[in-house]
Every structure is written in C-alpha cells, then in structure tokens.
Point group: C2
Chain length 266, copies 2
C-alpha cells in the first residue's frame, strides 16, 4: 500500500490520484491533477435525496451539482473505475447532524440507500485566478481557505435549511473587477462573488476567526471578496440533522475526471 | 371574464399576463411581457419527483430548472400572487404517458402531491438573437419553432428516459458563430447549440416534417442550427409513463416574473 506523497501531485492523472487515496494516502488535494476539477461530496439516504437535490437547485452558487450517484452506484463518468467510498482521502460521517467519525475509508459506514452528490469546488476558479495573475493569499501561504457561516439563510428545501457559508479571498483592489469577471465564467463552480468588501453585512464579526479553514491576513490594498462555499451543504446537515450523512473532510476533495475548462462559459 | 387578446401583449406585466390567462384567454405566449422569461411546466407526483429532478440535473441543456414548486405549493417568486393550476394558457394532461386532456384550467386534474418544475424556454435566447440582428425564421413567419425527436438518448435518471428533443432555427451562415456566442451566454435557457448543420447525424430524416411545431424553410445561405429543447421532458413522460403528468401545451408557456437578463452570464 503506497501512502507516501507523490513527487509531483499535479502531474498525476485523476485516476492515479484516486488510486493513491484509495490505497491509504491521506492528504489535502489542493494541487493534485492540474487542470482537473475537484468535488465536494455529500451523501444522504434516499429518502432525503429529493430534498437535498432541491436544496442544491435553489442554492446554485453554494451547491452546484456536478453529478449524482444514485443509490447502489459507486462510480460514474466523474470517477471512472473508482469507488466513492474509498477514493476521497478523508471522509466525515455525520449522524443526526453531529460529526461522529473522520476516516479515510468510509465503507464500514456506507449504506446501500445512500445517494451521493458531487458538488463543484472553488479550486477550479482559483486556478483560473492564478492563471490570470491574481494572487490568492491562502494558496501563497499554503493553507486552507478561510470560510465563514453568514447571517444569511440559504434557501430552504424540504427538511434542509441552514446558513449560507462563504469563503473569503483578499484581492488587490485593482484586480477585484477582474476576479469578478473571471469567476463569473464558472457558474458551475460557485461563479461570481456573492459579496465584496463588507464582512459586517454578512454577519461576520472578525475575519481572523473563520468557522472553517485557516485565517489569512487582509493585506493593505486588498479587499475581502466572498464567494458562496461548498461547505454550505455540511452546515445544512448540521442544522437539519438527517439520520446519516457522509461528506469529504475540508480540503480533502474527490479528484474527478472532468476538466476545469469543461465548466467555463463564454 | 376578459378573454379577448390585449392590444400590446408585450407591454403587459407578467402578473397582468397571468391574470388574463387565469381569466380564460387561450393564446400562445410568444411576445407577451417583453423582457421577462417564460417557462415550460412539468408537474409529476412526489414519488417521481427525485427521478425527474435528477433527469433535469443530468440533462441541463434540455431541462434547465428555473424553479420548483413543492407539493402543495401553488405560487413562488416566479409567479408571485399566481396559481400554477390556472396561469398557463393551455395545459396538457398525461396519464401513463398518454395525452388525455388539453385544458385551460387544470384544477380538476391537479393533485396535492404534484411537484411542479419550471424549465427555461428558448424565447429568452430568441429575444437576444433578434436584439443582435439575427433573423429567426419562425418568428418572422409567426409560427411555432419546429422541433424534432433525435436518435440521441437523453441521460437516463431513475424511471425517466427518452430521446433528446431539439428545436431548429436556420441561421445565416455568416451569423452562425454569433448565434453560438450569444446563446452560450444563457446556459439556464438551453445555452449553446447542441449541433450545427447536419440533421442526419441527429437521426432527422426530413426537416420539413417536425415532430412538434411547424416546419420552416431552410433558405439558401442559411444553416440549420439545433438547440436542446424544453419538450424533452414531455418526450420522457411519453416514454417513461408516470401515472400522471401535467405540462403546458406547446407554445403556451408560463410567463414568469424573472427578467431574461437575470439568466445571462458574462
């Protein structure tokens, strides 16, 4: 079982990356399989699946659905030859809304009736920002992006409700417009920012104490820019308490076979 | 009860247009409430709703979901103050996949457990084509767009499967690229064409015998351009035979309170 990190994770094919994680490697996936989209995972029992898919439809910026594995389905064209129960480096298991386990192999907890939702991840638009010469602080600092529960509710659907969760990137004031323009072209992976410049209006008291991820400095000359975040589904799970939910651990995403550029619109 | 057509249907607010249809006016909605999006309707029983929403998620070009009314819900922000059972000018009722009634008031057939899906309509991108000086033949001829069942299957989801249905517009050869560029900006209402120039590759033997709508000439110097069509859900209903489904009649759409421009991406 190979569990040591590869020399150049960006050069791995998505199938190679998934095989490493299936083999036991536990590692944040930032930088793996350059050019390929990564996905948030949320699996819920079939009798919650309509409500969750509707929650995603009503919250397209925070929960853009890239693919759905129906109950009993363990792979799809997004993870060809893979297994959704082993191919994410680290999983979180929620029972009645409470985090009960964190594990690299979720097979002991999986159920036949789970429906797995693969949700777009900001890594795709971050690559586009970097390719356009826009500095992204948490990437430069090698840490996870800071994320915040806001005072704004997500749109409710059936049993699912919860706060909108946002990620924050400080952007140089003269590149904020460019950052909007560039991320607008990726509506399938959170798209344009939901808010620019005023944390208080989102109910965020202190940018240095994020609810998830790692704080980053808002350097002089930069403006805090907020995007809808794929952790919103996990916040809804915590609030809505389905009997079982299985998610990725923050930063430990599914590496998919879809190219980032497939999600670009004009 | 006012049932005569208004002098300038384009000037009506969406609420005024819906009130006319609720009052008994039966008329195709092309040209009503200029600048506002119209929607395809498909309502199915709650126990089919997950499968249909998944079908839509897997077929985003033919079935872009603008909104969902949960069981028991008769209005939403897309039809504020309205009633989904009366505000479409003409409905079609399908039982076990067979069209059994066409009626302007579907209340006698409605059930408490129906979930109603509002699906984007090509009128939105047609307005953008016309605004950009691209002639659209069926609009100039005052007829419904020609639509064809293709030999290509839509992506299956649960009990729903069926052919991809496309609409065809002949576009001047020197504007085909513009038509692609313009409609690409509206992914929520069918987006870019799925095919350009070769009906046979879609399994269409004769453009002059469409499966739905009205044939239009492909004039010299124009190229047939094919877009995914919102009739795809009705074709899936015919093939998949849910016990009950309620849809709009072709061309008789729901006039919504959403502006066309809300669906434009950069």
């Amino acid at each position: 079982m190979m569990t040591h990190p590869p020399a150049d994770p960006g050069a791995l094919s998505p199938a190679e990356a998934r095989a490493l994680f299936r083999g036991g490697l536990v590692r944040p996936t930032s930088g793996f399989s350059r050019g390929f989209a990564q996905a948030n995972l949320l699996a819920v029992p079939e009798d919650c699946a309509f409500d969750f898919l509707l929650f995603a439809q009503r919250n397209p910026k925070s929960c853009p659905v890239l693919g759905v594995l129906e109950s009993g389905q363990l792979e799809s064209e997004l993870l060809a030859g893979g297994d959704i129960r082993t191919d994410v480096p680290l999983y979180r298991v929620y029972r009645d809304g409470a985090l009960t386990e964190e594990t690299p192999d979720v097979r002991p907890h999986w159920r036949e009736d789970l429906v797995a939702f693969l949700i777009g991840c900001s890594f795709t638009f971050e690559s586009a920002l970097v390719d356009n010469g826009i500095a992204v602080a948490h990437i430069e600092q090698g840490v996870n992006v800071p994320m915040y529960r806001t005072a704004l509710p997500a749109e409710r659907a059936g049993r699912f409700s919860g706060p909108l969760v946002v990620s924050m990137r400080p952007i140089a004031a003269d590149r904020v417009a460019d950052a909007v323009r560039i991320t607008s072209r990726y509506p399938a992976v959170h798209g344009a920012p939901v808010h620019i410049g005023d944390p208080a209006a989102l109910g965020i008291a202190d940018l240095m104490t994020p609810d998830f991820g790692t704080p980053v400095d808002v350097a002089p000359g930069t403006i805090p820019v907020f995007w809808a975040c794929g952790v919103t589904p996990q916040a809804a799970v915590m609030e809505s308490k389905p009997p079982l939910a299985i998610a990725h651990a923050p930063g430990h995403m599914l590496v998919t076979d879809a190219r980032d550029l497939e999600y670009q619109v004009p």
